[in-house]
């Protein structure tokens, strides 16, 4: 029989042997506000999916804190003089998670897959790319049918995500259930509505900037519960903290918060000409009524009540601090007297209409504040709450007079503008159609010089904001909260957590 002491002597030796295995295994645990949809960059359609992709799939480009284009899988780019070809130099030595090489042929495959995969949501984004040429293994040329300056921004989003051609061909449209990309982490498992587990990819090209062995994303829709998980130490990072919780959090020394103005917006879409209902709509019939509606709103007051001031008020598709903001149309001040005068002039001193809102508590509060504020000018606003699918249906059929609608935003202003204000575009729920605006928008797509584009956007602003298909209200803050030991959190305005550089202090 062994004496207990004899066994004890082995313990320190065993512990020492286990030590190197025990220490470095670090997991980053992230709480998401929703469960992402399919993890295929071509098919993906949700904002939260983009959060997860930033760990899984590298893109040709990325955007930085100032929304400037930065190299990622493409190390350099060059436009031709006529802006109709974009030549990309690719980063050497990059491999996909299945060991396949990333090269020009892979880029060609991916762009073509984005454009042709049935149901691809990237088709529209890459529509101007006519053909792709492999120049040499590390050089690829995109030939455009017409100049398209937002292309770089598209390639810095899902349209620029590169998946392993071999894995994509093998999996077909099931690729999203087991994605194979070239990002810092590779896919391990996904349990729907429960978790997504990714592990570090040891051959990642920028592996020195990765300090975690594993990432677990957990969707927790309730903001209070998400926060409770962070506070109890079960999560290291949560996105979309409720604005009402931020103040308390700032006094908590164990946690840090960060906020950044979104690139999207919150606004009210008005049915101008989408359907016959527009003709019965006092707002839709007369631009003066719409102007009165806007003048009766106190945006700062709305932001305070709805968002606890965790928002930047604005009157355009980008926030006033954004480089693309059209300074010739500043945020109008509330002017109830002028609003009343306009209504009188239009012959409808008490216009009545229904405002359709999503069922989220923010949107409901927004509708109530708008109702109260506009009443002072003589408006009679009725509120109708509709869950997302129903409101989408109403928007699409034009079965509404006014609609509370948010947009998550794109890095290039074109992504916030074209689909909403150009004639017959899928997101143009207002039914706004103006040949001059269309011409200006198309010209802005053809120009690459930011100063020249800005001038065009000023002209667009002057036209569109006078007609008010959308009354823009504010730009929410992305609110994040995380373990105070977590360093390297980058506040990029697209609201996506970049895992590169993140580090947990001991």
């Amino acid at each position: 029989m062994t004496h207990p002491m004899t066994r004890c002597r082995w313990i320190p030796a065993l512990l020492l042997a286990a030590l190197p295995v025990l220490t470095p295994a670090q997991t980053l645990r992230v709480g998401l506000a929703e469960d992402p949809d399919v993890l295929d960059p071509s098919l993906s359609r949700s904002f939260v999916g983009r959060v997860v992709f930033s760990a899984l799939c590298d893109k040709l480009f990325d955007v930085d804190e100032k929304l400037a284009i930065q190299p990622q899988l493409a190390s350099a780019y060059e436009w031709s003089a006529d802006s109709k070809t974009l030549t990309l130099k690719l980063r050497p030595g990059v491999t996909f998670h299945d060991g396949e090489k990333f090269d020009a042929a892979a880029v060609k495959f991916n762009i073509e897959r984005h454009k042709t995969l049935p149901g691809s949501n990237r088709r529209g984004e890459l529509a101007p790319v006519a053909t792709v040429d492999v120049v040499d293994p590390l050089t690829v040329r995109l030939n455009l049918s017409a100049p398209f300056s937002p292309l770089l921004a598209q390639l810095a989003d899902r349209a620029g995500m590169m998946v392993s051609p071999k894995a994509a061909q093998a999996a077909g449209d099931k690729f999203g259930t087991k994605p194979v990309c070239s990002g810092p982490f590779r896919f391990v498992e996904r349990v729907a509505q429960d978790r997504m587990v990714f592990e570090r990819y040891p051959q990642y090209w920028n592996k020195d900037a990765i300090h975690f062995d594993k990432i677990v994303y957990t969707p927790i829709p309730d903001a209070t519960v998400r926060l409770a998980n962070l506070k109890s130490g079960q999560l290291d990072f949560i996105e979309r903290v409720a604005s009402s919780d931020i103040e308390k959090l700032q006094s908590d020394k164990k946690l840090k918060t960060s906020r950044i103005t979104e690139i999207g917006y919150q606004g009210i879409t008005i049915n101008l000409a989408k359907s016959d209902k527009a003709k019965q709509n006092p707002l839709g019939r007369d631009a003066r009524v719409r102007e009165a509606f806007e003048l009766s709103l106190d945006r700062q007051g709305i932001a305070q009540v709805v968002m606890d001031n965790e928002a930047t008020v604005g009157n355009q598709w980008v926030a006033p601090g954004n480089a693309w903001y059209a300074k010739n149309v500043p945020v109008p001040k509330r002017d109830v007297a002028r609003a009343k005068a306009l209504l009188k002039e239009a012959g409808v001193p008490n216009p009545s209409f229904t405002l359709v809102t999503p069922t989220t508590s923010d949107a409901q509060r927004l509708a109530l504040v708008v109702q109260a504020m506009t009443r002072e000018a003589g408006f009679d606003v009725k509120i109708q709450a509709a869950e997302f699918a129903t409101s989408l249906n109403m928007a699409d059929k034009g079965d509404f007079e006014a609609l509370v609608l948010a947009w998550s935003g794109r890095a290039d202003p074109d992504g916030n503008l074209y689909s909403f204000d150009a004639c017959k575009q899928p997101l143009n729920y207002a039914g706004y159609c103006d040949a001059e605006t269309d011409a200006l928008l198309n010209q802005s797509r053809a120009l690459r010089d930011p100063a020249e584009r800005r001038k065009l956007f000023e002209q667009v602003a002057a036209r569109v904001l006078k007609e008010r298909p959308i009354v823009y209200l504010y730009h929410r803050n992305w609110l994040w909260a995380y373990n105070a030991k977590l360093g390297g959190v980058r506040n990029v305005p697209d609201g996506l957590l970049r895992v590169t550089g993140l580090k947990l202090a001991p």
Binding site: N121, G176, A192, Q193, P221, V225, Q234, E387, A389, W407
Partner: protein, 313 residues
Amino acid sequence: MFEYLVKRVATLLPTLLFVSVLIFGLQQLLPGDPAKILAGEDQDPQVVAYLRARLHLDEPLPIRYARWVGGVLQGDLGESVRSQQPVTGLILQKLPVTVELALLAMAIALAIGIPSGIVSAVGRGTAWDWAANAFALWGISTPNFWLGILMILLFSVQLGWLPASGYVSPFEDLGANLAAMIMPAFVLGNAIAAVLMRHTRSAMLQVMSADYVRTARAKGLGERTVVLKHALRNALTPIITLGALELGTLLSGAVLTEQVFTIPGFGKLVVDAVFNRDYAVVQGVVLVTASAYMLLNLLADLAYFAVNPRLRR
């Protein structure tokens, strides 16, 4: 009894068929186009058209119904349009979680509800009765999500004893599994315990005043034997019915509780599916739940025979 059993099983099939028509039909009444929802923020018309064709939304309803039932008969419940995972797989993933939560909640409900109901009936008008009634009132009137959040704040955030949410498979780590399940199971069980207590109390009160109980007492049997052996057995029939119904409800998923504790069960699955108009998932889950419900009711009927010998004649 055998004849009764055959009759009951024979009615199951037409009921299931009726349920399948109902599930399929009711969904079509929901406003909104699944293809549009799936097309996401961008609403590319080509994507919408493609999805509509892929989901067979352009076909007449009877054909779509036949397509679905045909699949079900071959064990194929279709595919989730949102996550691209097969519905059967999703259900198999969530079912054990929901079953475990339901059984734990039921165990807690029975352990609290029946004894407190008996004590309250036997000691009618005493402090025990008052206490049990107060508990029942609290249990019935406390909303699940509120109790859940309070428990998280106390046991997870303040005391740090239990994980705030999440689920661990019992095969991975039984201790962690129970630690994660105890709060949600209590929240669910607590409400059911209250209902069970009220029913046990009233059934017991009724039985305790029956002639045969007086006879039993007159025979000189001890109070314990009279209550537990003679009275309770008779009082159990309505409680079994109620228990089976409550268990059936639990098996259909406890949406709010699952949401608060992030338990990946049926409730969350089906609610998300309804909002996303993920028809195949809704149909699959409701069909499985309806079958479970019917099976439980059948089992409850059989249990009557076990506790009540008079029915066996």
